[in-house]
Symmetry: C2
């Protein structure tokens, strides 16, 4: 396919979109919400085709969960678009401004990137969130969804492109690309000067592919090997709630916790309680020797021994590794070694220990006394998100409106020279 032509069409559309009024962009995003609700029937029909194919293909439960749409989830997509429309337009914001000693007025102004390519896999709601966030920020978007969600994404792209045109914006601002051809994908991410930003949302294979082939800037949204550390100064009831929630509330997503670390001093008091709750929710546990010792006679029969590989694994499933540590330093070391810089939580009422943890743990989001599950653009008040960045360049954490913008300096003088 002619990916260059597709990207150039997006580039042309982006030039006009960059200076569109907020009111027209918001109208387009609200039209998306309305159209999604109006055409829910069609969307679910197409999604059913993907789900049936996925079952036949033997996709895991976690993947099928990501792929599945129902009326509630379509309503949630529409609600997400209405939240996005209601937020302030970041484009045109004067981030800061000052006057130099020479009398130059310098303004740092927020501007769109231009063309954003989003490369994702199973979740169809990304089609909608990415398009809505890009249109709102005056960016054109090239959407390359996974083949398992082909029918769902195609109908969603059709619905939202129609909505954008309905609002009087160029339909070319949304380009849906369904290719499975890796060569086409490689060419897309090498279009220097046309594609301004690539946001991948997928596994290690996609990341490795982009590290190898991309020549335009990429924001890597890495996996989430997230931890909950229960300190000796924790409220143990709260620690049980936070651990269980972080693990089981939606195990297939990147902000779910994968390893539980427990301070040795509270291991005997805490571990029997939390293990009971986790086992009641069918969580398979991989535990170290000290955990087994702390559980003593209350150790369930199904416990498995934890290996370094378990600690390094993002299970995305009802599985959890458990380790007893000497103190917060050992917990920090463990997280430094195994963590992926996504979301890390400590449960403690000791302010000094909490501060130590938040300062030394190098991650996009560090929690004190709350579930790792909160790392999310909508929860953070950003309306929606395209992905959660675990890299430090440009944006860390949820990628939403502001993260889809760059800046330029606009400098006004009255004839100044150096």
């Amino acid at each position: 396919m002619d990916i260059e032509k597709t990207a150039l069409a997006a580039k042309r559309a982006s030039r006009d979109l960059a200076n569109e009024s907020a009111s027209r962009k918001d109208r387009a995003v609200r039209e998306m919400a309305d159209s999604l609700e109006l055409r829910t029937g069609e969307i679910l029909e197409e999604n059913a085709v993907d789900i049936a194919a996925g079952r036949k293909k033997g996709l895991s439960n976690a993947l099928l969960d990501r792929l599945r749409l129902d009326e509630d989830r379509v309503r949630a997509m529409a609600a997400s678009m209405r939240r996005v429309a209601a937020l302030a337009d970041p484009v045109g914001e004067i981030v800061e401004g000052w006057r130099t000693s020479e009398g130059l007025e310098i303004k740092k102004v927020r501007v769109p990137f231009g063309v954003v390519a989003v490369i994702y896999e199973a979740r169809p709601n990304i089609t909608v969130d990415a398009a809505g966030l890009c249109i709102k920020t005056g960016n054109a978007v090239v959407l390359r969804g996974g083949s398992d969600a082909y029918h769902s994404n195609r109908i969603l792209a059709e619905v939202i492109t129609g909505a954008v045109m309905e609002a009087g914006l160029p339909g070319d601002a949304i380009q849906f690309v369904a290719t499975r051809d890796r060569d086409v994908l490689a060419r897309l991410v090498q279009l220097i000067g046309v594609v301004d930003l690539v946001i991948p949302r997928g596994g290690r294979e996609l990341k490795d592919f982009l590290v190898e082939h991309a020549k335009v800037p990429v924001i890597y949204a890495g996996g989430g090997n997230c931890h909950v550390y229960v300190d000796k100064a924790a409220d143990l009831g709260s620690a049980v709630d936070i651990t269980v929630n972080s693990k089981v509330q939606r195990p297939g997503v990147c902000n779910a916790a994968e390893t539980l670390l427990v301070h040795a001093d509270v291991a005997e008091a805490f571990l029997p309680r939390v293990v009971k709750e986790l086992r009641a929710r069918n969580v398979t546990l991989f535990v170290d020797e000290r955990t087994r010792a702390a559980l003593g006679s209350e150790a369930p029969a199904e416990l498995e021994d934890a290996t370094a590989e378990h600690y390094a694994t993002e299970f995305l499933d009802l599985k959890m590794a458990v380790r007893v540590v000497d103190d917060v330093e050992q917990a920090i070391d463990h997280i430094t070694q195994y963590g992926t810089g996504h979301s890390e939580a400590i449960v403690t009422n000791d302010a000094t220990v909490g501060r130590r943890f938040t300062e030394r743990v190098d991650a996009a989001a560090v929690y004190v006394n709350a579930s790792t599950r909160f790392t999310d653009g909508a929860v953070f008040g950003m309306g929606a998100e395209i992905a959660i960045s675990t890299q430090k360049l440009h944006a860390r954490g949820p990628l939403a409106l502001r993260e889809l913008t760059s800046t330029k300096y606009v400098v006004t003088g009255s004839g100044q020279v150096r």
Copy 2:
């Protein structure tokens, strides 16, 4: 050489540096300034070795100018460090913060990257600016200077590392690497998890090398094919000053202008004046047909015909291409086609035209009625700069303190779960 060991030493130092107090970091940066002044004699001796070698090798005047140090330039380096020390520490800044509906307190806190690798060529002052800015922001730095400046960079690195240790900070936070081995360089920029950011400051060859080999994030500081557009509503006296200053004040640097665009309506009034001034400063001019026609009998004999290649070239020398355009739209189109997104200027008193230009020209810095030469970290009030980014990701324009930081979300709750 064992580049992995070097980078790991920097990484270890960065962990301690990340939480250092501002006062100690500032002391280190002020020590750098003092040591540079104290040891100016040694520094100039070593620089003379590089200059002599460069002459023998036949380096261009522009390159020799970049390489050369004298007492004033060493004093300027020291002054730059004192400015950096006097600025506020960006690390620990709470960029923003809010409370969610669930009662979570979310703070977005500025943090260092960790290890920053700066890869540069001839200019020795980058050794000092990069190290000072990195230390101030709690980053360790790997400095890889060009071989033409080897003796200068080696002594500068020695001086500033001594200063850092004098202030009680780890000397490993500054790593000077003089290798010319491309394989070593390739390994450096592939150290995922160790090197957090690469900032190249060099030509196309270095950029292509990094696009090919880098696996860690890179901020590309591209070249500057900068333009001055003289609108029909320009003050022509001011337009002459701005054009001449943009071209000749320091032609070897990236914010110098390379092409002059002139509105057809003022071509006959403006071009003879500006050409006379540029020729008086030995600027070689490459002009289009309309420029020649506008000059008429006042055209100097030495004019050469402009080709598309001239318009695409960053001369970095006393050379300038000239073109007459129909209006601001054609000027914008020319800049969109040939510009590198660095610094672009319009001279006009028409507010509507000025706004059109600043909105549609996609560059790091867009000037109205001022010289392109102002794009500079120190001039912008940032103390110093490592480079000027022409990419849109993370930072655009001068890279100084804030641009050397990332952020993390610190989220505090009281037991919240989803």
